[in-house]
């Protein structure tokens, strides 16, 4: 909540906020052994497989790793724009 108020009233996040945001990402990378580049590859591969079945707008697709306690969770939010037109 304190951080939230800070973000509203100042343009530049405080150094503590920066530290926390950076650490959040670093810890996710350390715990999952997934780099930002590997995440991009994962996203591309996922998109390729899913696109065989459903039509997806790559720009609307969102994939994140979230933290719940010490458990990491891969969250994919993928709006479906329609079925893939079948070729007979």
């Amino acid at each position: 909540m304190d951080n939230f108020i800070n973000r509203i009233f100042s343009k530049e996040p405080s150094s503590a906020d920066k530290a926390k945001d950076r650490l959040r990402l670093v810890l996710i990378n350390d715990r999952t052994d997934l780099s930002a580049a590997a995440m991009e590859n994962l996203k591309d591969d996922l998109l390729e497989v899913l696109s065989r079945y459903i039509h997806i707008d790559p720009k609307s697709m969102r994939i994140d790793i979230t933290q719940e306690g010490r458990q990491q969770r891969l969250i994919a939010d993928i709006p479906i724009s329609g079925p893939v037109s079948r070729k007979y």
Partner: protein, 266 residues
């Protein structure tokens, strides 16, 4: 009664493992507990000077492990507190002089006659660290509210869990309430949020710690200092008492909001 073995570790060096070991040991002993502190940092002996016992060493941990003395001969009695003992590390040997099973054997030999054995781990994640956590019933991970220390603490927590030692408890050392207030230091809430383990205590940044170390007297014996009170409270929490966190930010009770709900991360 059988002693509980607690290992204090951190990953990163210089965050206050040795100071915490000395002070948690001293605080428990002032409460009438029988305590031995073991310096498991072979080759970099330090717990002796923090406790002010450097002139009394005859035998050390490696002498006891290798059978050159009885274990009781390597136990140095503290000069301030009855029933506080130090088992010093060897200064001229390295970490390979002791194995994890040696540490388990030594601690098992100590258990019947004591209430607590506090093991001071070396920094790092190698042999010395493995030695230190081998005998542990419980592990305390100590960190500073600072990016590299928190990152290393997270790594250590993962390794301790993988070694099936349970989820460690967290001790945040050298927190500066003023810097937290200015939003220039991670708060205790931030660190607990990131590491997601149970918070055992917060020790504030306190000049009195260095002064007491200079004198070879644990700060835990000084009830007037905030750091001394923090260590007394940590000892009481280890004894099972429910003690609220110190109000470091006088007036607002900011730190009192943190409660044991974070212990569910296992």
């Amino acid at each position: 009664m059988s002693a509980k073995v607690i290992t204090i570790t951190s990953g990163k060096g210089g965050v206050g493992k040795t100071t915490a070991t000395a002070n948690i040991g001293a605080a428990l002993a002032t409460m009438g507990q029988r305590v031995a502190c073991i310096d498991a940092d072979i080759g970099l002996r330090n717990l002796d000077v923090v406790l002010g016992l450097e002139n009394r060493i005859v035998y050390d941990l490696v002498d006891a492990v290798e059978g050159r003395c009885r274990l009781s001969q390597a136990m140095i009695k503290d000069k301030h507190i009855p029933d506080l003992y130090l088992i010093p590390s060897a200064q001229t040997r390295d970490k390979t002089a002791v194995s994890p099973s040696d540490m388990i054997r030594i601690c098992d030999e100590l258990r019947p006659d004591l209430d607590w054995v506090i093991v001071d781990s070396p920094a790092g994640i190698e042999r010395g660290f493995k030695n230190a956590i081998a005998p542990a019933d419980e592990v305390i991970v100590i960190t500073n509210p600072e990016v590299s220390a928190v990152r290393d603490a997270d790594r250590i927590i993962g390794i301790v869990e993988a070694e099936e030692k349970g989820t460690p408890k967290l001790l945040i050392n050298r927190l500066s309430p003023e810097m937290v207030k200015q939003n220039n230091m991670l708060s205790a809430d931030d660190v607990v949020d990131l590491l997601a383990i149970h918070l055992l205590g917060i020790v504030p940044e306190d000049k009195a710690v260095l002064i007491s170390t200079n004198q070879g007297t644990p700060i835990a014996l000084d009830n007037k200092s905030l750091a001394g009170q923090a260590y007394q409270n940590i000892a009481r929490r280890l004894m099972g008492e429910e003690i609220p966190l110190l109000d470091l930010d006088k007036g607002s009770g900011f730190f009192n909001r943190i409660s044991s709900v974070f212990g569910s991360g296992d």
